[in-house]
Symmetry: C2
Subunit: 260 residues, 2 copies
């Protein structure tokens, strides 16, 4: 009946979102706690259910709350893990069965697991650019989804030019105990330099499915390209991380000050 926002500076659904958001940020509504039900909010704001839902949807898409049907809405928890890309050039794992990442996670008391598959395909255009090859030539794609405590953690796809690695262990869809870098070195393509590109975006539908993401969950895309001493690209890794679960960490030393 009434309403008409005319005299009010902001739409009602935004006022509702602002009000709840403020309580979340201030900590009045702490992570894991339950919000009032839609019905309660209808009464509190004297409005229709759709309007309340609109306001709640704003917060869902901001990643602040998430609905757990049919129990209600809850303030989201954000537990961050650190990822250290330079681990590429750190010591090899002690157990040959386990790759570097899995060992690291086990050390932290978590239960890591992964699923690996290998395909020979034409590369995605961005990968072709970085490997400096034609999009019609072939690459070996080693794809894995990594899990921690049975929850999807990241997607890690590495692409190698097929000509470089054909016939090698890289084609085998299992852990490479001594590390893929070692295999590349043995093939005569030692990786001595790498570039890292990092961007943030909303996930594509296939990423939503593979990482079991809901709304309000951006992904962090970390693209790593490795080069030989001749500046020849030998691999390109595309790492899709769940934004709310990862921080990527780098360490840098001022040139000429390497010896701390």
């Amino acid at each position: 009946m009434t309403r008409r926002v005319a005299d009010s500076p902001k739409p009602l659904y935004q006022q509702l979102a602002d009000s709840l958001r403020a309580k979340i940020i201030s900590g009045e509504l702490s992570p894991g706690s339950q919000l009032p039900t839609e019905k309660d909010l209808c009464e509190e704001f004297a409005t229709a259910r759709q309007t309340v839902r609109h306001g709640l949807a704003v917060l869902v898409n901001e990643g602040l709350i998430s609905p757990a049907r049919p129990r209600g809405y809850f303030v989201r928890r954000h537990e961050l893990s650190y990822v250290r890309p330079q681990s590429e050039w750190r010591p090899q794992p002690s157990s040959p069965e386990m790759d570097r990442w899995m060992e690291e996670q086990t050390t932290l008391g978590r239960e890591p697991s992964q699923r690996i598959s290998v395909e020979i395909i034409q590369p995605p255009s961005k990968v072709a650019e970085r490997l400096n090859i034609q999009p019609t030539s072939l690459v070996v794609a080693r794809r894995r989804v990594r899990y921690i405590d049975s929850e999807p953690f990241n997607i890690n796809d590495t692409f190698y030019p097929y000509e470089l690695v054909k016939g090698s262990e890289i084609l085998n869809p299992a852990d490479i105990a001594r590390g893929a870098s070692q295999v590349l070195t043995e093939l005569g393509y030692e990786q001595v330099r790498a570039t890292d590109e990092i961007e943030a975006r909303m996930p594509l539908p296939d990423e939503v499915a593979r990482l079991e993401l809901g709304p309000g969950n951006p992904v962090l895309v970390h693209r790593l390209t490795g080069y030989t001493a001749n500046d020849e690209p030998v691999r390109c890794t595309v790492n899709v991380l769940i934004g709310s679960k990862h921080v990527v960490l780098f360490e840098r030393v001022k040139p000429g000050k390497a010896s701390l």
Copy 2:
């Protein structure tokens, strides 16, 4: 009247979102092109306007489209810039009036500008942790919002322990011609090492305002902490980048292979 999704595997609004998303990803609807109006979609999918709006809202929050009232919905364009954090340790700008970032942008043919303000405050908790100081002690916050061609580009806030920089040029809310690093060195706190932390999340309300963001726009947060040779933290920079406009770039060389 009819409806009832019972016989259909997915809700109608999702079918609509899926259908349009597929056209966008395949390129049938190219960046910048206009989508059918809500009314058209109501007819095409034989449904009510709210349902169509629900489906469109999904795509808006995925960052794929954006409404330009009252002209209609358009497929979003994504133009990426690169940011190179190690520029910290690269040559100083040729013009003393211009800082490194502005020079870089000018070289690229863009029109950079920035607004700088300086405050003396108690640090945010994450900054206090990284500077290894009490949250109640004071820091100097140099805040800037950078613009390119009058559009907000990023937020760049640097925090220095007040005790370290009091009385210095750092307190002056203007460009520091020779660079803040140089000033720190002159004060006896040469930064020789840095850690970079990068994460992706949805923006907070103040970031939405300062960067003029709409829905479906995650931000990339780049937190840089600089240390002296004694491992004493001397500054912490928090860089908030618009996800859809930035790629962060690093370069790494295998230890012992530094001389390419």
